[in-house]
């Protein structure tokens, strides 16, 4: 039995028509196993967010085949196979924290008791149980993003898509959130696709870093992160961690140089 969550073969995406065409992605081959934590890293314009949106069926591919959980991305979306977190928390500000987490469950027709138990459970998981009755504007940016993560995991999707989720947070909050995501990943067994432009973040979180380069967006390298799965603040000070950060940095530079040559 195949345990692939995502399989992309020759995927390309071109936006616009006629003279205004922009080739965002070309020839993407990518395999993501169940339980993987994959980071997509690259300079802006390399199409990493577009690739994430293709997996989520928020846009459709122009060429190639993309399979999510053994189905088309569209079917996977209809089956609610993935949860998504954006850079902005995108909470509905007329709903309490609890009701925000319940939103997907309402749409998916969960009975009301289960909605509230699950939301409570998720808020426990992101350590915001005390804030269930607060409204989004009463929370800090980091707390809002934790609510967004709780909301994305509330219906227990097998895949979590994260589009630069910590890009707007300060460094201290960011590191705390990374730790939190790793803990959630360990506890839920969800596969994660994580878009970022931070090298240390990609290395610290991932089992594999997918390095992308721009014009047109493509995968230039893949780096296996063979750090132990349990990571903490000490991990950030290990020489193995530094080696990997350097490896990703060089891969990025090489990718950019290669892009300039074509």
């Amino acid at each position: 039995m195949s345990s692939l969550v995502v399989e992309a073969r020759g995927v390309g995406k071109t936006f616009g028509t006629g003279d205004g065409q922009i080739e965002a992605l070309r020839g993407i081959d990518l395999q993501i196993d169940q339980g993987d934590f994959i980071s997509l890293i690259g300079p802006s314009g390399c199409g990493k967010s577009t690739l994430l949106r293709l997996i989520g069926d928020l846009v459709g591919p122009t060429t190639g085949t993309l399979v999510v959980n053994g189905k088309t991305p569209g079917q996977a979306r209809l089956d609610r196979d993935y949860g998504i977190v954006f850079q902005s928390a995108t909470l509905l500000d007329w709903r309490s924290v609890q009701k925000n987490v319940e939103l997907p469950l309402e749409i998916m027709d969960f009975p009301s008791e289960e909605r509230s138990t699950r939301a409570t459970e998720m808020l426990d998981l992101v350590q915001l149980a005390a804030f269930a009755d607060h409204f989004p504007w009463q929370l800090s940016g980091g707390m809002q993003q934790r609510v967004a993560i709780a909301r994305a995991l509330a219906f227990r999707p097998s895949l979590l898509l994260m589009d630069e989720p910590f890009g707007a947070l300060d460094e201290m909050t960011r590191e705390a959130m990374q730790q939190e995501v790793l803990r959630l990943w360990g506890e839920t067994g969800t596969s994660v696709v994580f878009v970022t432009h931070s090298i240390p973040e990609a290395v610290f979180l991932s089992t594999r870093v997918v390095v992308m380069s721009p014009r047109p967006g493509r995968i230039s390298d893949e780096i296996i992160v063979d750090l132990p799965r349990r990571r903490d603040q000490d991990t950030r000070e290990q020489s193995k961690y530094f080696d990997l950060v350097i490896e990703v940095r060089e891969a990025l530079r090489k990718g950019e140089a290669g892009g300039a040559a074509t």
């Binding site: 928020l58 609610r80 997907p104 749409i107 409204f135 009463q138």
Partner: protein, 281 residues
């Protein structure tokens, strides 16, 4: 609770301050212009600009010889006009909301109909009103309902425009989020777009509340409807040279009626905001 009372007292005080300032301006103008013998832009004599206290006292004098006081007669008229305005407001609000939803769902419909929606508002209400009355009469519509339809004609436009804007106000990522949940168009509408549109819709409803009163007053004229503010205002304006203070007093009542209606909508808006964004603790 104390805070709310204090706020109420403060707003009452500021309203009173404006009334006092207006009275002082009015009487000051009369005083200075009379003393200097000026006639422009408005003559200060009592037939053009009656004293404010005369206007005020008119309210409590009998409207007709040995009849009930003016204020009672006109308040009853205002109530009738408000009722027509309210029905028009509800019809116009519903039509406006429906158009907003239609346009947000179909760009084609928006492109096809929006120019006519805009054009409808450039046709003067005094041209539309007699047509509505005549057509309404043909199909045996009660006269007051024809008047309500005229009010609705003024009401639907701001609601349609603002509903459309509000329904489009959610962030693109919020729409993508709903898509990721495989949400139906209707669920996205009711769970995301309509709540996001409420501030826009309430703004439109306040404009529409005032417009619906105007629509009802104007609509009463071609309908020949008696007992409302429209007929009385027309009558008092014809008697202006003989008794100008009556027209001013009636205008005062009409203004109060409009304010009361807008105030009601504002109060409902506050309740809605409070129910949805209550503070903790």
């Amino acid at each position: 609770m104390g805070g709310a009372n204090r706020r109420l007292a403060r707003s009452g005080l500021s309203i009173l301050a404006v009334v006092v300032a207006f009275v002082l301006l009015w009487e000051g103008y009369k005083l200075v212009w009379t003393a200097m013998g000026w006639e422009n832009p408005v003559s200060p004599d009592d037939r053009t600009m009656p004293h404010t206290w005369d206007i005020f006292l008119t309210l409590f004098r009998p409207a007709q010889r040995n009849g009930p006081p003016f204020i009672l007669v006109e308040l009853r008229a205002a109530l009738m006009t408000l009722r027509e305005a309210f029905v028009g407001f509800v019809i116009g609000g519903a039509v406006g909301f429906g158009l907003g939803v239609l346009f947000v769902r179909s760009t084609m419909a928006e492109r096809a109909f929006m120019p006519y929606v805009v054009a409808s508002q450039t046709v003067p209400i005094i041209a539309i009103a007699p047509m509505v009355v005549v057509w309404g009469g043909r199909i045996d519509l009660p006269q007051w309902l024809s008047v309500s339809l005229i009010a609705a004609y003024l009401t639907f436009f701001p609601v349609a425009i603002n509903t459309l804007r509000g329904l489009r106000s959610p962030q693109p990522t919020a729409m993508e989020l709903m898509r990721s949940y495989a949400s139906t168009t209707n669920e996205t509408l009711w769970k995301l777009q309509v709540p996001a549109a409420m501030p826009y819709i309430f703004t439109a409803l306040k404009v529409s509340a005032a417009a619906s009163v105007i629509g009802a007053i104007v609509g009463e004229l071609p309908a020949g409807l008696r007992g409302g503010l429209g007929r009385d205002l027309l009558q008092f304006s014809q008697q202006f040279t003989a008794a100008p203070e009556k027209l001013f007093a009636a205008v005062l009542i009409a203004g109060l009626a409009g304010i009361a209606f807008v105030g009601l909508v504002t109060a409902i808006e506050h309740r809605w905001v409070q129910a949805n964004r209550r503070l903790i603790g």
